[in-house]
């Protein structure tokens, strides 16, 4: 069965170039991709992830709000009883990586991350969760 990924834009950041390109690259790698559209809240993303029964949630964040919003998405998922891993892509300074990991973010893809790197990391996360 192919890996199912929900890609989401949380908050007010309208930059959707990256998320659309990544969604297509993940599809090229055989994954099923669902896109939430713009201006989602942590709650709507978590609900969609549970409803769509996805294996991974990918957040695209370029406005600097990642430290506020990414932990809220993880929290909203866990409140709904979901242990689905959350990954973040976009403009994330390396100094913020520890804080994001501590908040439960499973992986961060910075600018210039390759398609192979993203696909490999997602597959590892899915395999680890399946145990």
């Amino acid at each position: 069965m192919s890996v199912r990924v929900l890609v989401a834009k949380v908050g007010l950041d309208g930059h959707d170039r990256g998320i659309k390109v990544v969604a297509r690259l993940l599809r090229d790698a055989g994954m099923e991709v669902v896109y939430t559209g713009l201006f989602q809240t942590p709650e709507t993303v978590a609900s969609a992830a549970v409803q769509e029964d996805v294996d991974v949630v990918g957040l695209s964040m370029l406005s600097g709000a990642h430290l506020t919003l990414a932990p809220l998405v993880v929290e909203a998922l866990r409140e709904r009883g979901s242990d689905v891993p959350v990954v973040v892509g976009g403009i994330v300074p390396s100094n913020d990586l520890d804080e994001l990991r501590a908040a439960g973010v499973a992986a961060v893809f910075g600018p210039g991350a390759s398609a192979e790197e993203m696909v490999a990391t997602i597959n590892e996360l899915v395999a680890a969760r399946a145990g």
Binding site: L12, D13, V21, L38, S63, I91
Partner: protein, 520 residues
């Protein structure tokens, strides 16, 4: 440097020269020899008080123009205490909630002598109302205010995605600002038609050129519907283009843009005034071309891109900082970016001769080819609009045509990076050095968000609620009648200290909200 005397411009005796229709070679006969481009750097962060301090530094350093960056909640018409604003207040720009913030933003700055550019779109009419209300309170009449409102809503739906109302309602607000500024603010540029964001979202150079000019034509048609003549409106439109890394293609793009605008405004829109034919533009180097790997290389990329803008005849220029793939620019990185422009202006000598590449077989052919390809896209948009560029642009947005083309181009480019057919130094080749120590970057804390929310709470406590309600009721009733210009009701509400979010919310009840159908 060797003392060879230089003419202001070169060309064959019977050839086209800068300063002559169709202005392919530049708007002015002597270009930068008589006046350099404006080095307009964009600034804004935190609260209005913080940004006011930065503005005063810019003025003290000899700046004569201010360019305001707003935060995401402000750009989307939300107050700082809106639940959707969490984590975003004061982060990408300054937070403006009400007249009180406008007073802080421009405290001690003489708006009769300084021009102000405001980069805002969906709430552009509201921001203009707040600005006029503040200026008049400070004793400067609206007729004396000089500046630019970005106010280019079409590219928001196509590319930048900071939209609020559905396209047709938004265009009514644009029409109202065009008509209001044409009648009452003779020194104000009503729209900065922007290709920058279209390109950043993934469009090719030709798509950036064609979509941007098509949007410009659409605004001319919108103004015509409001009873304004092309020569009343066209001289008040300015343009804003990207400077990407493909050097000659960018130069050809600017030359083609001038040529197309001049011929189309004359031949299709009947413009007679030469100022209507002249496409004036601001340039910003390409944020998307910058890399997080070996970020110092971004100085070289930005220098090449800025040089393309200068050789293409730009009127003003913003150079990006080397750290922008990592964070908002640090002070040092922003200074290096400005200094890069100064090296081009004062050291390189490229300013001595207008359009130095004019007559190059390659550049002339590339210019003509880009213009030809743009005309093909114009035809496609006109076909969508049954002969109307305005209708074609709106239909193209409603049917995801622009968005789809931009996403396709972004995907194709990314594929070429992934399969190595295009090289990005430090990203898919020449990786030695990628493990170097990180740059010092700017950190923004959540303290600004708290301060701004407290400020807003005190505005709400201190105002006359009955006056606010009355002003918002007038706005709501004016909004229901499409024939009424909303600017007077907005200025009235601004004076009553209604907030940005309240004014936008009042209009949203009438106009509804735009939801983009998510497509991949």
């Amino acid at each position: 440097m060797s003392g060879i005397p230089l003419e202001a411009v070169y060309g064959p005796p019977d050839g086209a020269f800068p300063g002559q229709f169709p202005y392919t070679r530049g708007l002015h006969a002597s270009m930068y020899r008589s006046r350099l481009w404006t080095m307009r750097m964009f600034a804004g962060f935190g609260t209005a008080i913080d940004t006011n301090r930065r503005f005063k530094e810019i003025i003290a350093a000899g700046g004569t123009g201010l360019s305001t960056a707003f935060d995401m909640p402000t750009l989307l018409g939300l107050d700082s205490d809106d639940p959707m604003a969490r984590g975003e207040v004061g982060r990408c720009g300054v937070a403006i909630d009400s007249l009180a913030d406008m007073r802080d933003l421009f405290a001690g700055i003489d708006l009769a002598t300084i021009t102000t550019s405001m980069t805002i779109n969906s709430p552009a009419a509201v921001m203009l109302a707040l600005f006029v209300a503040h200026a008049e309170e400070a004793g400067v009449s609206r007729a004396r205010l000089g500046g630019t409102l970005q106010n280019d809503i079409l590219k928001e739906y196509q590319a930048q995605k900071e939209f609020v109302f559905p396209p047709r309602a938004s265009m009514r607000l644009v029409r109202d600002t065009i008509a209001f500024t044409a009648a009452e603010m003779p020194k104000w540029n009503s729209i900065s038609v922007s290709g920058y964001h279209i390109r950043e979202a993934g469009a090719t150079a030709v798509e950036e050129l064609a979509f941007t000019l098509a949007n410009g034509f659409a605004y001319l048609e919108l103004a015509r519907e409001a009873g304004l003549g092309v020569d009343e409106v066209a001289p008040r439109l300015s343009f804003f283009f990207n400077a990407h890394i493909d050097f000659f293609e960018e130069i050809a793009k600017y030359r083609a843009a001038r040529q197309l605008w001049a011929t189309w405004t004359r031949d299709h829109y009947g413009a007679i005034d030469p100022r209507s034919h002249q496409l004036r533009f601001h340039t910003q180097t390409a944020g998307v071309s910058l890399t997080a790997q070996q970020p110092e290389l971004n100085i070289a990329r930005t220098a090449l891109e800025a040089l393309a803008g200068v050789l293409g005849g730009t009127q003003s220029l913003h150079t990006n900082s080397m750290d922008e793939a990592l964070a908002l620019p640090s002070e040092k990185a922003a200074r290096i970016a400005l200094r890069t422009q100064q090296v081009i202006a004062y050291e390189s000598g490229v300013v001595h001769v207008a359009d130095p590449l004019g007559g190059s077989y390659f550049v002339e052919e590339l210019t003509n080819e880009m213009a030809r390809q743009a005309e093909v896209i114009f035809d496609e948009i006109l076909a969508m609009g049954a002969g109307s560029m305005l209708e074609g642009c709106i239909r193209g947005i409603e049917e995801n045509w622009f968005q789809g083309r931009i996403a396709d181009s972004a995907y194709q480019l990314e594929r070429s990076f992934n399969d190595g057919t295009r090289i990005v130094v430090g990203v898919n080749d020449f990786l030695e050095g990628n493990d170097d120590k990180d740059l010092e970057i700017l950190r923004i804390t959540n303290a600004d968000e708290t301060r701004q929310r407290e400020r807003l709470a005190s505005v709400r406590r201190g105002r006359d609620e009955a006056a606010v309600s009355a002003a918002l009721e007038t706005l709501a009733s004016d909004a229901t009648d499409p024939e009424v210009n909303l600017m007077p009701a907005l200025i009235n509400a601004a004076r009553a200290q209604a907030t940005l979010g309240e004014m936008m919310g009042t209009m949203e009840k009438v106009f509804g909200r735009h939801v983009e159908v998510p497509t991949l």
